[in-house]
């Protein structure tokens, strides 16, 4: 049993960086201003560790989920801590930043659209690197505890994947930074397909 090597992790990070580049272009033209995006981290992690990455299972988050069909079936989940979600909505829709707690239909669909853009960009990058094809569904929005969103995505997609590919994503618009967590959760065969297509030969899951 072994973990991914540094080279393999670089391949994943490269997918993230190219995807972020694609996404930044689309977002910038959508918003009519430059939206630099960076990918501070990309890694493959066991799903049991995922809640901690986003501040614990009870952290209040907004999340958008897509299911992905194609050569490597997967789920996508884009998670933001509540205040980052509010910031992003303000930046997308303009206006002041009321300390509202709920998200109306318009705001939900704005976050859904950002997730569509990110997903399209990352999947396009992944497709270029691997030659695999992916077809994402329309987005679904939820605002609740991080753990509740994550366990749902893992259970429903993960019949049963034990690993998630996390691409941390940071946007800058104006002088505001927004941190988002972009998860691609392939089903078990999907993960093997993706890693093999990336040139990872001998990856096997660690015993959990």
């Amino acid at each position: 049993m072994r973990d991914l090597s540094a080279i393999e992790l670089d391949a994943l990070k490269e997918v993230g960086t190219v995807g972020a580049g694609n996404a930044a272009t689309v977002l910038s033209s959508l918003l009519g201003q430059r939206v630099p995006m960076t990918v501070p981290e990309a890694r493959l992690l066991p799903i049991s560790m995922v809640p901690d990455v986003v501040g614990g299972a009870e952290a209040e988050v907004v999340g958008v989920c897509l299911s992905v069909t194609g050569d490597a079936p997967a789920a996508i989940l884009f998670l933001l801590l509540l205040h980052d979600g509010q910031k992003l909505v303000r930046q997308l829709l303009g206006g002041a930043a009321p300390e509202q707690i709920t998200f109306n239909e318009f705001e939900r669909s704005a976050l859904g659209e950002v997730t569509n853009i990110l997903s399209g960009a990352y999947l396009q990058a992944l497709s270029e690197f691997t030659g695999l094809s992916f077809a994402p569904s329309p987005p679904a929005f939820a605002h609740d505890m991080a753990g509740a969103l994550l366990d749902t995505v893992f259970a429903e997609i993960g019949q049963v994947g034990d690993y998630a590919l996390l691409i941390d994503t940071e946007f800058m618009t104006g002088d505001q930074g927004v941190k988002g967590h972009f998860f691609l959760v392939p089903d078990p065969e999907g993960l093997t397909t993706i890693l093999q297509a990336l040139g990872v030969r001998e990856w096997r899951p660690r015993e959990l």
Binding site: E58, A142, D144, G147, L149, T152, F154
Partner: protein, 164 residues
């Protein structure tokens, strides 16, 4: 609420059992199911965080606590080894929500309901009755179980904390 004794966190696809005093907690149940089982005489309690209905599609090495049909028999065995008696167990169940609505009847996303059904059937098969249940809906839940008193509380973002 107060959390007497050791605080034991039960993670996704884990189970745990303890004698009083202890508090068992599982955070952020979405489509998963939390099961709290309590023997008031022996003061022994157990909790599962079940992720999926059925172990039959699992790989050989997979974690038994992940599935309803294997998690329930395993926690019963563990509780009995701590002195609990099956016929005295008070069982409470929470979770099984549908967190995302894709608005097109995507069956993959009805897992919460299937989880709840599988837990009920595993409990029934073990000869256990459910004393209280808070399942379904579209919100996350945290389940907190005080093994000293047998009281179970459900915490949600919208509704705060309430006893089950």
């Amino acid at each position: 609420m107060e959390t007497p004794g050791a605080l034991i966190r039960v993670g996704m696809a884990e189970s745990s059992a303890s004698k009083a005093p202890a508090t068992l907690i599982t955070s952020g149940l979405g489509s998963c199911i939390g099961v709290a089982l309590y023997d008031p005489l022996a003061k022994v309690g157990g909790m599962c965080h079940v992720m999926l209905p059925d172990s039959s599609q699992a790989r050989a090495s997979e974690n038994r606590a992940k599935f309803a049909d294997t998690a329930i028999p395993d926690i019963l065995e563990r509780l009995e080894s701590l002195g609990a008696r099956r016929e005295r167990l008070v069982v409470k169940v929470a979770g099984g929500a549908q967190m995302f609505n894709f608005g097109r009847g995507d069956d993959r996303f009805a897992i919460g309901r299937r989880n709840a059904e599988a837990v009920r059937s595993a409990l029934k098969q073990a000869g256990l009755r459910i004393a209280a249940e808070d399942t379904g809906g579209s919100h996350g839940r945290t389940m907190i179980f005080d093994v000293s008193s047998g009281r179970v509380f459900i915490r949600t973002i919208e509704g705060g904390e309430a006893e089950l």
